[in-house]
């Protein structure tokens, strides 16, 4: 089973993105926990992209999201035309920091890395291609 959605890099698309993930998880009978993880991950990805992916004032880019189930895992591919950004090489978020030390950013990326079993990145032409895998228990 596979499904594709193309959206603009705009926070106004969050609802459509969530509905897409929900519908796929329901059809594929992935269960509430997997659905929650995937929803959170796509939301964090789009939010990050909108915040940091483009120059201020630049027109919205194009994001393609693909979901499919393969070999006991659900695979999410998130493909955007934002500036090059490899989340797999970002420093690990400091979880032990005190209240004052907690950085404002980085928590979303930490959630993505923790909730998914594997995150792979490639820059293909002028696009960021992220492939995230979560095992289905």
């Amino acid at each position: 089973m596979a499904a594709t959605l193309t959206i603009a890099s705009d926070l106004a698309e969050l609802r459509r993105l969530r509905a897409f993930v929900d519908a796929f998880c329901l059809e594929s009978r992935l269960g509430e926990r997997i659905a929650h993880s995937l929803t959170l991950v796509v939301e964090e990805l789009l939010t990050n992209l909108v915040a940091y992916g483009y120059d201020p004032g630049a027109p919205a880019g194009v994001v393609t999201v693909l979901l499919h189930v393969e070999g006991g895992a659900v695979v999410l591919s998130f493909d955007d035309d934002g500036r090059p950004f490899d989340p797999t090489t970002r420093p690990v978020y400091d979880l032990e920091g005190s209240l004052e030390d907690r950085p404002v950013g980085g928590l979303g990326l930490h959630l993505i890395r923790t909730m998914m079993d594997e995150v792979r990145y490639a820059r293909v032409g002028d696009r960021n291609c992220l492939i995230l895998t979560k095992r289905i228990q």
Partner: protein
């Protein structure tokens, strides 16, 4: 986002309903910080009706905890749903935001 409000003596219990995310987070943060006003406020966030929190929502709670500390107030969260609790655990938010099992436990600790 709907926010239910109950006052129990000196403690203000706020019960947000639904999701705390990128969409609802900013208005929710404004409301929380406004309730802290000039300082000394005791605010308990009852999360029993929140089924979803993203990093934007977690940042609201971190900001509220910081503000409460700066204003010599008290701030905590209570009654986390399992999925929200998992996000708290993954983010180790319990290191920075006080968490109670339920509203009753918070009331007892603060009385």
């Amino acid at each position: 986002m709907q926010i239910e409000e109950t006052r129990r003596g000196a403690i203000l219990v706020l019960t947000p309903v639904g999701r705390i995310d990128n969409e609802t987070g900013p208005a929710f943060q404004t409301r929380l910080l406004a309730e802290m006003g000039g300082g000394g406020a005791t605010i308990l966030l009852d999360l029993s009706k929140v089924q979803y929190i993203s990093s934007a929502g977690l940042h609201v709670l971190i900001a509220a905890t910081k503000q409460s500390k700066a204003l010599n107030g008290r701030f905590a969260v209570a009654a986390l749903q399992p999925i929200v609790k998992e996000i708290f655990t993954i983010s180790r938010l319990s290191h920075v935001v006080p968490i109670f099992d339920d509203v009753t436990a918070a009331m007892a600790a603060w009385s």
